[in-house]
Symmetry: C2
Subunit: 394 residues, 2 copies
DNA sequence: CATCTTAGTTCAGGGACAAAAACAAGGCCT
DNA sequence: AGGCCTTGTTTTTGTCCCTGAACTAAGATG
């Protein structure tokens, strides 16, 4: 309650600049005139502010559009080459580094395989740092043009400058990945849980687009969720909100790798699904899952039921506008069984919140984690686009 | 994404005024000098702003405090009699109307009993309206001094001006209580779910005080929760967030009065507890529960386990700083069994979020619902304290 | 070529906060 | 008792920002 929260005229400027930039970013090419309408700012303010943005090269002109009988509108857009963002996906089997421009077009990408058992933090950090160098030189982008590096990792990320990670399944307990990376780069770093970065990507560029209250669930080896409240990711007090996979849906039920019992993940995590189906995997889980789905085994129906219970709990507790199902297991299930998933969710939800929720599939592929990580950089850019220049010198 | 969100200099004024007023309200008697420190505003701004507030009689002086060797500080405080708020608790067995001053001291109160089966909306509305008249005349307060009326009701309240209510257990389905009340009063109305108003009360004046991320759970006949994110109640897209009682903890488990199976309420709602204990109630649930607790029956341990699972789900999903257990059942359980509740929660939570959460008992008594309803009015007052006067005339 | 229409820019005016200076009110020392 | 010091509060001055209105730009129309 004691955080200073005063506002001064400068905050207005910064805030309005962010509003303008967001409008420009999400509406694509737009005229100044339309910007006054959609931001609510006066024409004068839009004019001076766009002039600033143009002179800083953050915004560029993008052709004209004739108006019926008057001066044509000049279209403006965010300059996709004003800066670049690096997105990193640290997963159980690989480290993937991507370079994105401001429009989140992937310009370069590099993968490093990890041997499943070997997750030496130093090695991962070296992969990331060399990956950044590789994608930059591949794309011909210099480090000064990079606005920051976003990293999506498994497990819980402590808030704070060091990016300390706790990932039991990964063998990391208190690994300061942020600090390790800091030794090799001076670029701004953003470290977040991979389920959250994927959620961020679906929210901004995928099926969650435009939703203000939403949940993006990730079904894969692990099960997680991103809770979006008022348009931004809800993180809780210590950044671990969204551990949906370890909420209990059967008190005292199946044991889970987290040590608990009856966790959702212990029913609909890929290992749990295969285990319940009696499949001993030969390593290719995607094929295995496809086989189970094709088998019409009762395990499929059970899985949908458990998933429906888990989703219904989100519906009742969070009352989201939209639930996006992502992760490769989620996509594979959803592609054929979305109506059944909806039915199972409805059966376990209260009527009013269920009616307010639409359940959809994620649209982004396997690169969503890296894309979302890069989006952390973009978000920062849109909120605080560059520090104000020294106006007297301009 | 298209909502106009521009800011102008006037917004700064309003915002800073709200910041100042909140600081004054929550810190009690405070000098202008301390206000500059705790709001971050400059002394000049605090001075002019307090002068305004003093002339409007919103703030009054509250004595002096000597400083070591200098001019003594003049203490300021919010004038508790500047205005009043009405809080209404509509429950299954009664309608309670309370009048509170700005410090939330109850000045008058009146109860109307409801026959359990008879919940005619018109009758309830008449009770509320006549209750308002009664408390005002009892306390000698005129309607002009009342800043608004807050109403806490069971069930889900639709967002919108009519205050439409869906309360299955109450026999109300789409009752526009707000519109019914609007016919009898022109005061500002705020209608919200009773579990949420109770949560609001605990958050502002009870055990949740100062928490920014918290969950306040209500255990009574029904089971509900208030989720607090970033200091404010999270409502979800259609205001029904927090239906914790109908999240499933045993897929396919005990039938619940909501029509579902395995709901938390079907295990730890008072009726469920008594049912599981094999008690056939003679009408006094509080005594019945006390008897069960005294009996050392295994039902008690089971109840704690189920409650622990429910709380752990909140810990994992929401990652709150604090969980407050309220409602009469919650208090009765917690008074003797809080350590066991904590243990059961820990057993079902992930270590990191559990370590970040403290589980405490609610502090406010049975009037918390009405108090919280009045707090809705207070919140509005603190955020937008009066429309700005015509400055030229002053 | 004059007029109309729409788009965008410039400028005066007023509101808001910060920093600094001035003022106020008491204690302390000589 | 009077000057000096310390602390609290108010006034003055300056800078920043937004808006509304006047103004310029650029094309269409007849």
């Amino acid at each position: 309650m004691a955080r200073p929260q005063r506002r001064t005229v400068r905050d207005i400027r910064r805030g309005n600049r962010a509003v303008l930039l967001r409008a420009l970013y999400f509406s694509g090419p737009t005229s100044r005139n339309d910007l006054t309408a959609c931001t609510g700012l006066s024409a004068a303010t839009v004019s001076t502010m766009t002039a600033d943005l143009l002179s800083e090269n953050i915004v560029v002109e993008a052709g004209q559009v004739e108006s019926d009988g008057g001066r044509p509108r000049v279209l403006l857009r965010v300059n996709p080459e004003y800066g670049f963002a690096v997105g990193v996906d640290v997963a159980e089997t690989h480290v993937r580094v991507g370079l994105f421009d401001l429009e989140m077009t992937e310009r370069a990408k590099v993968d490093y395989m990890l041997r499943p058992a070997r997750h030496d933090p130093e090695l991962v950090a070296r992969h990331i740092l060399s990956g950044v160098e590789v994608v930059l030189s591949d794309a011909g982008v210099s480090p000064e043009q990079v606005l920051g590096i976003g990293v999506g990792v498994p497990g819980i990320v402590e808030p704070g400058a060091d990016g300390v990670i706790h990932a039991k399944t990964f063998g990391w307990d208190g690994v300061p990945l942020g600090a390790l990376l800091r030794r090799g780069t001076s670029l701004p770093l953003y470290v977040d849980n991979g389920a959250k970065t994927m959620g961020q990507a679906e929210l901004w560029f995928g099926s969650g687009r435009g939703a203000s209250e939403a949940v993006i669930v990730l079904l894969g080896v692990g099960v997680g969720a991103t809770i979006v409240a008022d348009g931004t990711t809800f993180r809780g007090v210590s950044s671990s909100a969204g551990e949906w996979g370890h909420t209990k849906i059967v008190a005292g039920g199946r044991p889970c790798r987290c040590g608990g019992r009856g966790c959702l993940e212990a029913y609909i995590g890929i290992e749990a699904i295969l285990d319940r189906a009696g499949v001993t995997s030969r390593g290719n889980w995607e094929e295995d899952l496809a086989a189970v789905l094709a088998s019409k085994s009762p395990v499929v129906e059970e899985t949908i039921t458990y998933l429906g219970v888990g989703l219904a709990n989100l519906v009742n507790l969070i009352n989201p506008e939209k639930i996006v199902i992502g992760g490769w297991v989620g996509i594979q299930l959803g592609e054929s069984l979305l109506p059944e998933i909806r039915r199972a969710t409805a059966a376990n939800s209260l009527a009013e919140p269920y009616a307010a929720t639409s359940i959809v599939l994620g649209r982004l592929g396997p690169d969503a984690v890296a894309l979302g990580a890069a989006t952390l950089v973009l978000e920062e850019f849109l909120n605080a686009p560059q520090v104000a220049r020294i106006t007297a010198a301009g």
